[in-house]
Symmetry: C2
Subunit: 608 residues, 2 copies
């Protein structure tokens, strides 16, 4: 076990080395920005797919919609920059909303974010696999298997801890930035020099399941889908304490760099898609089409860009793998989640959270067949709930504290909050039927769970409180050893019993007078002076007289302890359990709910 664990998750790290694990700006950008950057790979396509419902003639709208989204992104980035500075200890939406608006607001933000992390993993992996199957159409049939394979890889990578994560994930992020840079520059050059040819594809043009004329509602739907480009901006504000000191400053700078990259790439892809008249296709992504058109078909450069896209997408899931367990542990420390999620384990990475996240995203990937477009409608709702609550919380904070420059700060946060609230409504309304309702239902359910867990821990703390408890006298302990014969396991249990108390009683239930006499005889030698009680059993039941005896003994000394010692075999093979210890199990079950009775198994080790 220990060896396997070390291979899978690496060696433990001593506490005094913990700060070496912190992010620099560049490693922080690599780890925390993959979510935000990678949405470039599918956001434009989601807009185009929606516009296609009104026919190819309406695809030009992708550019104005893209501009609005890019503007929104910048507002949110500046708003979150303020949050980072105000909360150098980590300013997740949960904390900001809880401190400034109230506990319920905080829990709503927490629920929204946790759901969102699960979706980030599922959507990013699905889109990463789509980039692969665009390059290798024959693999299309294995979409789900490929997705689950990547999921397992990422989960193991994260189990190994933060520093290895940075090492693994820096390469692909910068590789993606570089590849996209090449694509955009060459693309712009071709546009400016007028080298635009129509794009052929082996894949059929995507056929929406409905057709409609171009209405405001449809434009809003397209906009809502495009807003996937905004996801991931909050990742850095959650991860501030993981940066090297000065944490807040490094994190804020990283955030602005990231937003800049995201805006440039998203607008670049959107403008090029418009310029090259890209039409969404069934089995080939928009990026893959653009890539072929710009870099001259399926050559080495084409495969390089596709590989970089896959890598950044599959690794984008890593943002969630850094943040989900961290957020869960913060919530758990506040007693709104089970306390084992608060546990850092011995490897800094929070293994319980990682396991839960992997499991849930795996379920989503299987349930939705690894299809990005089917997952998208569930996606953004959570992000925008947390965006809105976090920025609204900041407005409250600015107004309450009235620090220098509070008016400008409150204005920026307020603008952000208002815009994201509007987007939230647009998303909820336009995508309700496609899956957003699931999130709308789940958030209050999760909040109710958080609250009930908190209530439970409060009640337990109350029951455990030492207030009013008096220091008591030393109590008496009656040790009862039920025996079914005299053999090595029983002799060992009796030896143990003698160390516990001077009041030890071996209990034998008489179901066969012959066997009983045999026990009495053996007892002369092996009983070691311990009292042997023979209980009559008119119904040949072994359990009932025994339980009755224990009950009576308990009644005799109400405040004192009773210890029931059960000689129990530890078999050499697991299936041997089926052949032993049935009675011990029954006795344990029967005594589980009695006060002052402690049931102890004295293990006897069988070696074959």
């Amino acid at each position: 076990m220990g060896a396997l664990k070390h291979v899978l998750v690496g060696k433990p790290i001593p506490s005094h080395q913990a700060h070496h694990e912190r992010y620099t700006r560049s490693s922080g950008l690599a780890i925390l920005s993959s979510d935000a950057l990678s949405s470039v790979a599918y956001a434009t396509e989601e807009i185009l797919r929606t516009l296609l419902i009104a026919g190819t003639a309406s695809l030009w709208l992708v550019t104005p919609i893209g501009c609005v989204i890019a503007g929104l992104m910048l507002v949110i980035a500046f708003s979150y920059r303020q949050t980072i500075r105000a909360y150098p200890g980590g300013g997740g939406a949960y904390r900001v909303a809880r401190e400034n608006i109230g506990t319920t607001a905080g829990l709503i933000a927490a629920a929204a974010l946790l759901l969102d992390y699960v979706l980030t993993v599922a959507v990013s992996i699905a889109a990463g696999v789509a980039a692969i199957t665009s390059a290798f159409p024959a693999w299309h049939v294995n979409t789900v298997e490929l997705s689950l394979g990547f999921l397992v890889l990422i989960a193991i990578g994260n189990m190994r801890g933060i520093r290895e994560s940075a090492r693994i994930f820096s390469v692909p992020t910068y590789f993606f930035l570089g590849s996209m840079g090449v694509l955009l520059v060459v693309g712009m050059f071709k546009v400016l020099t007028g080298q635009i040819a129509p794009i052929e594809s082996a894949s059929a043009v995507f056929v929406p399941s409905e057709t409609a004329s171009l209405t405001i509602f449809l434009v809003l739907r397209a906009f809502a889908n495009g807003c996937t480009a905004l996801t991931g901006i909050e990742a850095i504000s959650d991860g501030v304490p993981a940066f090297k000191p000065p944490e807040a400053k490094n994190a804020a700078t990283t955030l602005l760099i990231m937003a800049g990259c995201a805006v440039v790439m998203f607008m670049g892809v959107t403008l090029l898609a418009d310029a090259f008249h890209v039409v969404p296709r069934q089995d080939e992504t928009v990026i893959s089409q653009l890539n072929r058109a710009i870099l001259g078909g399926r050559g080495p450069l084409y495969y390089m860009v596709q590989a970089a896209t896959t890598m950044i997408l599959v690794l984008a899931a890593n943002t969630a793998f850094s943040d989900f367990p961290r957020l869960a542990s913060i919530i758990a420390r506040d007693k709104f989640l089970p306390r084992q999620l608060a546990n850092q384990g011995d490897r800094l990475a929070f293994s319980n959270g990682i396991l839960i996240l992997s499991f849930l995203s795996g379920v989503l990937l299987v349930a939705f067949g690894g299809d990005t477009h089917a997952l998208i409608p569930l996606y953004m709702l959570g992000v925008f709930v947390s965006f809105t609550l976090s920025q609204a919380g900041m407005v409250v904070k600015w107004r309450r504290e009235r620090k220098r420059g509070w008016r400008v700060g409150a204005y920026v946060s307020g603008l952000g909050a208002t815009l994201t609230l509007i987007v939230l409504f647009v998303v909820a309304i336009t995508k309700f039927r496609e899956g957003a309702w699931i999130i709308i239902v789940l958030i209050p359910i999760l909040v109710a769970h958080f609250t009930s867990i908190h209530r439970h821990y409060d009640k337990v703390a109350e029951q455990l409180s030492l207030k009013g408890l008096a220091v008591s006298e030393k109590k008496h302990n009656t040790v009862i050893v039920p025996i079914g014969g005299v053999h090595r396991a029983v002799v060992q249990a009796l030896e143990y019993a003698r160390t516990l108390s001077d009041d030890v009683r071996a209990i034998y239930v008489d179901v066969d007078p012959h066997a009983t006499q045999e026990i009495r005889d053996t007892w002369q030698h092996w009983g070691k002076g311990i009292r042997l009680e023979i209980l009559a059993s008119p119904f040949r039941s072994v359990m009932e007289p025994l339980l009755e005896y224990i009950e009576l003994t308990n009644d005799e000394r109400p405040g004192d302890f009773i210890t029931v010692l059960l000689p129990e075999f530890v078999p050499a093979r697991w299936w041997h359990h089926l052949l032993h210890n049935q009675r011990a199990l029954l006795i344990k079950g029967a005594l589980l709910f009695r006060r002052n009775i402690v049931v102890t198994s004295v293990p006897y080790h069988l070696h074959e």
Copy 2:
């Protein structure tokens, strides 16, 4: 739990009343003969269905085949009468074969019989349901549900114990004997007075899945299928000790009465089927057709006979419910099956065996869609293996003991053994592909299991033997209480610890200096003079320093005991378990395989 158990299985019976539960001849006949008698309901039909493969012209062969089977039945009955007298303590094939031929022969017989009991339950219930659906064709779609319903009813009836069984099952057995009597007498009267009319039916004529000409092989197949009539004869010889004294005499007489009834009814139905030119049909049984033809269509008499047939068939399963648990307990007492099957429980009925039997037959009924004809090929192999081994064992016994009249005895047993061996080969060969192979595969697998269980118990007994063990001195017990804070559950555990030993150490792992100082402070008041050990944890792991400490303590005093006391919550609701006790579970798991270390949970009861 207790109340529910009493409603389902009745009140316990004191030992001194046990002999009141014994069978009289008439109650023994009712309980143990239903299997043998009830096969009348389907044996003739199985012969006809096979003959139909060669066309309706060959159906007349049912009479000669029936005669051979009836003769065989009488030989086996007389042979088993001898077994009962030789084994008044219960002469099942297992015991007879084991004592006279060898352990492996005994185990083969045991495996064969156990499988056969399971099939008796499945076949009888399936045929009983067929009798119902013949009367009410609309219920045909619910065959499996009806079968499982009856199975549950019988299982509960048997859980309630032997006397109630006799009371419940006497009525239908005698009702069936009476109803069949009426049918046969009226039928013979009609035949003798020449009132034979062709039988119309709403159900289509049965179409075999193959056609063939009439070969010796086909006649043998028909014979093999008809031999289902022979199943159940051995039931009484297994159940001898359940009879009132003189057990052997009562049982032997009951056996002859049973064989007489079975022969008369089987031959009666066979001759009538021949005389009335009955053709097997898809959805109506042969008995139902005869019944309509003889008793004048679907009138009250018709429904009476169908009801009686259903009842005897469904209750025939009861033979197996009496004998399966009894045989299993005999085998278990010989240590070839897990010892919990040897346990009589507190209700004489052997509840474990009943549960296993019900489960396995339920699986068969579902797997074979509750279809009698599909189950038949699996059926007889087991019976004939045990017939052959049991009678061969008797031959050996006669020759060895040479008691008065041993030559005649050996001749009868030898004739029986030879005939059943021949039938065994006929069944195995003609029905191999239809399902008999399953039994041929399962018997050696079961025998191998029996042997490996026996070997395990032998090894355990060797390891537990007191031979060579010296009486030891009183040992030392170091009590270790890992604590994560100081609260009521911990205070209770410390109180308990103080009763166990003078060497108690509370262990706290330091992961946060602030919290550690708090513990030290609280310890002044609540520690009660118990030594508090603070362990350093460079890796922030709580488990590792703790386990290391336990290991070191164990090394210091190699022969002595260590008790690890874990304060553990007993929550008010089951799901609260998810919120607590994770660490206790981990510690228990880690220490499970260490010698001389006893891990004890001190339960603290939460009330909400």
